[in-house]
Amino acid sequence: MKKLINDPKTVVNESVEGFGLAHAAHVTVHPDPLFVTRKQAAKAGKVGLISGGGSGHEPLHAGYVGYGMLDAAVPGAMFTSPTPDAIIPATLAADSGAGVVHIVKNYTGDVLNFETAAEMAQAEGVEVRTVLVNDDVAVEDSLYTAGRRGVGGTVLVEKIAGAAAERGDDLDSVAAIGQRVNDNVRSMGVALSACTVPHAGVPSFALAEDEIEIGIGIHGEPGRHKIPMENADGITDRLLQPILTDLAPVAGDKVLLFVNGMGGTPASELYIVYRRAAKVLADAGLVVERSLVGNYITALEMQGCSISVLRLDDEMTALWDAPVNTPALRWGM
């Protein structure tokens, strides 16, 4: 394992410290318990938005703290959901009286820790709503699994719900629009290589030189199945097909197409995937109205990508276009 780190035990703290130094104009880092808040307080009466989860998915979530998106983010240990003792103060910090929305990716650990924190924050007088993101079609959503995982759709939920909060929507409305984004987005990922969690020191799974892992999650957990390596167009089709089957858009639907890098894939490859995906969607009669390409929700240095398709309505599009000013996503200001 070769990594630009000092010690597996200090990776998250040092990294977030560096993030705070580099983006001192955007964020404040609270070291213990660890959470990140906006430097400029949001206007009073704005619904607060927070998210958090295991580290290793950067820029998620701290990179999205700022105007038009999150009020606070809670980075857990590497690939490990954060604990209530950090989520609670982040929730309190994000509250300016209008309540706080927790955006939680659907993993048992995240759900349980945010659940506890929400209960305790409510006990302290903060109204909390939770939006559970579960957009990963690689996982069967049934009574017999922990349900679909939250992956790429999380970034879209945070952006669009963040814009709704910024324009002054109330607590239930912000949660509702976040839920609407989640209901209309589906994602699926592929890994060409595994990643190595620093404290484990060995790759999270093994892939032969000609194998890829379809339906990968963002935690280096194995995916749906291994298949022999294919070309980019073939892989893109494999990711899109279950997305489209599940989302079942109709011709004429407007969509946002999001090709996300897992951390170790060059931008040039993501654009090759985007090219094919855009063609497949166009052939299906869909109108790609907005797009996002890059490393937005990663799994350390994993090679691979995920594709997310969000069915847009005019309100979502307007909220997507609304100004945002965070370390990792910025436009309009």
Partner: protein, 216 residues
């Protein structure tokens, strides 16, 4: 093995210290189990949590078994994270509530505390036996403990029965398909691998039994 009729706070503290030791010792093994069917952090998370429990014990000596459990609950809840943090945290919290501020625990109370701990895990995680989770260790452990206590066994024998049952329970997860937690994403690919949380539960319950044996 000598067996006293009651276990005191000394036993509770010894249990927590032994748990920390055994988790530290098995850190890589638990990481490895979790790497294969999860995300490779279970040993790291528990080790971080139990190291913090040791620090907390050094800082403030709990006066009763219940206080020791509560200290463990709060520390694990705030230091472990992931799925295991809230689950173990809830387990110790329910155990603490069950024993209240009793200075001494008898075999029946031990059985009740273990049962409450298990019920807490179920309340939070909704897992049933056979879902390939720590419940597959806890439920047989509780059953064995309650049966042993009913049969008149002392605390150490009760805990020994619980640990032994937990150990078989952990082994019993090997062939299963997971229906809860991260391993459930794997479908049939989880078959043939032991659930890390069941494995750590067996280690921790064995530590409880060892503490009772040693502290007798």
């Amino acid at each position: 093995m000598a067996d006293s009729t009651f276990l005191t706070v000394d036993w509770a503290i010894d249990w927590l210290r032994r748990s920390a030791a055994v988790v530290a010792e098995n850190r890589m093994a638990l990481i490895e189990l979790d790497r294969v069917i999860g995300d490779g952090d279970h040993g790291e998370n528990l080790d971080r949590g139990f190291s913090a429990v040791l620090e907390a014990l050094d800082a403030q000596a709990p006066a009763t078994p219940g206080a020791a459990f509560k200290l463990a609950a709060m520390t694990l809840m705030s230091k472990v994270g992931g799925a295991a943090g809230p689950l173990y945290g809830t387990a110790f919290l329910r155990a603490a509530t069950t024993v209240g501020d009793a200075a001494e625990l008898d075999a029946a109370m031990l059985g009740a505390a273990l049962g409450a701990a298990r019920d807490g895990v179920v309340a939070r995680g909704k897992a049933e036996v056979g879902d390939k989770t720590m419940i597959d260790a806890w439920t047989p452990a509780v059953d064995a403990a309650v049966a042993a206590a009913a049969a008149g066994a002392g605390p150490a024998a009760v805990l020994d029965a619980a640990a032994t049952a937990a150990e078989s329970g952990a082994v019993s997860t090997d062939p299963l398909i997971a229906r809860k937690g991260r391993a459930s994403y794997l479908g049939e690919r989880a078959m043939g691998h032991r659930d890390p949380g069941a494995a750590s539960s067996a280690l921790i319950l064995r530590a409880a039994a060892n503490a009772a044996g040693a502290g007798a």
